[in-house]
Symmetry: C2
Subunit: 309 residues, 2 copies
DNA sequence: AATAGCGATGCGTTTTTTGCACCACCTGTT
DNA sequence: AACAGGTGGTGCAAAAAACGCATCGCTATT
């Protein structure tokens, strides 16, 4: 899109906070880029950047203008996607921000299913915890977000939710594996791997622990679900996960690859809510809107009684 | 704004439905314009116009794209206005659509008051009846609308309203001038000048007439309030107006330049509502938002007890 | 059949954009 | 205090893009 060039360039400079660095990324010389910016500033009638010794920084006017540019880019993407949809070929680009829970099984499955019908749609999956995902939506860096507890901003528009209990994961040889449902007191003195504070799972656990004034024997804290799942095979420790992050068999109580999952009694730890949504007031590109529909369908298939639309 | 050129051109062609005509208006050759359009269509990957023997016409994709262009232009105007506001100088352009009622006294007064403080703000006043004004808002051709009864579209967002009774205007020598309040039966066989069907005043009158199964002795129908007011001096006929369209003295029952106004009893003809508002969901340019504030203040001054915010 | 109006295209000219070399300036290090 | 390495800004010539003229092919009207 030729007519977007200058605007894209300004956006790039704002991100890089340096004309020369941005020029390198954009594969042009810094002088050409510099002059484009001077020209736009001239047309606006006011500078958009403060010039510092170490580079440039947006001033207030620049902040406003860059915000406009991003909104404009997002709307253009929507229109393009809608136009492409007219000709039958659905093309486009969908950007999803999500916590780690859905990255293992849910998103790969849904995307594969979507791509099997629409090869011309590409994806951008960024792993981000709730607060960052909401910020990414607001700055139009992403189209959709999947957030597991809690929603903080009022400009997040939830489209669908599903209730998810917290499960304990462990080797099937673990002493707690024989229980159907786990109470918090079972976990006393059992070594556990906890997700970091950013995680919704951790926050739900905290609620339960605070209520009972308990502490867990935390052997390790990590934001990697993958590490956790793999480590459980090596030592008799307990990790935590929600059903959407587990293979279907494990979520239903059967062992998979030597691991097994057991729900924590909701008397001890409340169930959490997984939210699917987007920025309030935004009209999504067709591809993103349809992908969201598919995610919701898939959620309904996996958790028929816990889906809310 | 250089980066808007191609988009502005497309908008112009869409309006003119002809490349050559648009080129003339834009003061370039048709070939340059033609090539810009071909280039954009090439970048979009699909034609935006249908080529007819008599010119061009937007296809579906074009409709979508032009809508995007207009939204983009409106948002750019807002950002520019906001940026200008940062530097203390309020500059900008305010576009108002309104029926004839407010064009005589209200809008001229308010604009003069506004311009006395902000000389850098320019105005565009388009006289349009309610339905057309709403359409102009929706297509982003205007920023604000003043509509006297009724509001038809759900995307019109009312910001303030004021109740207005319908008044009869006549020469002070007219036989009805001695009454304080006029009943519909007084108007039987009195020659009247009616506003056209588009007018809210006419529609309110119709409500009263239908209810009583009456007809007026319509000597003339016009959409020009100016003509009506001037004609009343020449013949013993009655015209209709709402207070906001009258000089303050006349609205308060005193004669002005040989003319006098008397309210119709609200038992016969219901009061109407004058709405000030904009397109739902739009963020207005600073200049327009502040102008709207001033209009509302002014309304409050003129009709203290009938203003609703 | 002739005509008038439309959008599209080839080509030479004009305008705009780009890249190179270099300047002035600031910052942190030697 | 001198210096090296970074920043944005500018003069000038080359490259690229946009433009205008002449002209084509097509269609609807006369």
């Amino acid at each position: 899109m030729r007519f977007m060039t200058s605007l894209r360039f300004i956006d790039a400079v704002a991100r890089e906070k340096s004309i020369r660095k941005a020029a390198e990324k954009l594969a042009i010389t810094s002088t050409a880029l510099n002059r484009r910016i001077l020209q736009i500033e001239d047309e606006i009638g006011q500078p958009l950047f403060e010039r510092l010794a170490s580079g440039v920084r947006l001033n207030t006017a620049g902040e406003l203008f860059v915000q406009h540019i991003r909104a404009q880019q997002a709307d253009l993407a929507r229109v393009q996607s809608q136009i492409a949809d007219l000709s039958g070929i659905r093309r486009g680009h969908v950007r999803v921000a999500s916590g780690t829970e859905t990255l293992r099984h849910f998103l790969p499955d849904v995307i594969a299913r979507y791509r099997s019908e629409h090869k011309a749609v590409t994806f951008d999956i960024s792993r981000q915890h709730g607060e960052a995902a909401e910020a990414a939506l607001a700055s139009l860096e992403t189209d959709l977000a999947l957030i597991f507890e809690p929603i903080r901003r009022s400009d997040f528009q939830t489209i669908a939710t599903t209730r998810q209990a917290v499960y304990c994961c462990m080797a099937e040889t673990h002493e707690l594996a024989s229980l159907d449902s786990i109470r918090l007191h079972h976990l006393l003195d059992v070594p556990v791997i906890l997700p970091t504070m950013h995680s919704g799972i951790r926050q739900l656990l905290n609620v339960g622990l605070m209520r009972r004034n308990m502490q867990l024997a935390t052997m390790l804290e990590t934001d990697s679900q993958e590490f956790t799942q793999n480590y459980l095979r090596n030592e008799q420790v307990v990790g935590f996960q929600i059903p959407i992050g587990l293979p279907q068999d494990m979520a239903e109580g059967r062992p998979v690859n030597g691991l097994i999952a057991r729900p924590i009694d909701s008397v001890d730890v409340p169930q959490g809510t997984l939210h699917i949504g987007h920025l309030r007031g935004r009209v999504l590109p067709v591809a993103a809107a349809k992908f969201m529909d598919l995610m919701i369908t898939e959620l309904g298939d996996r958790f028929p009684k816990d889906l809310d639309q």
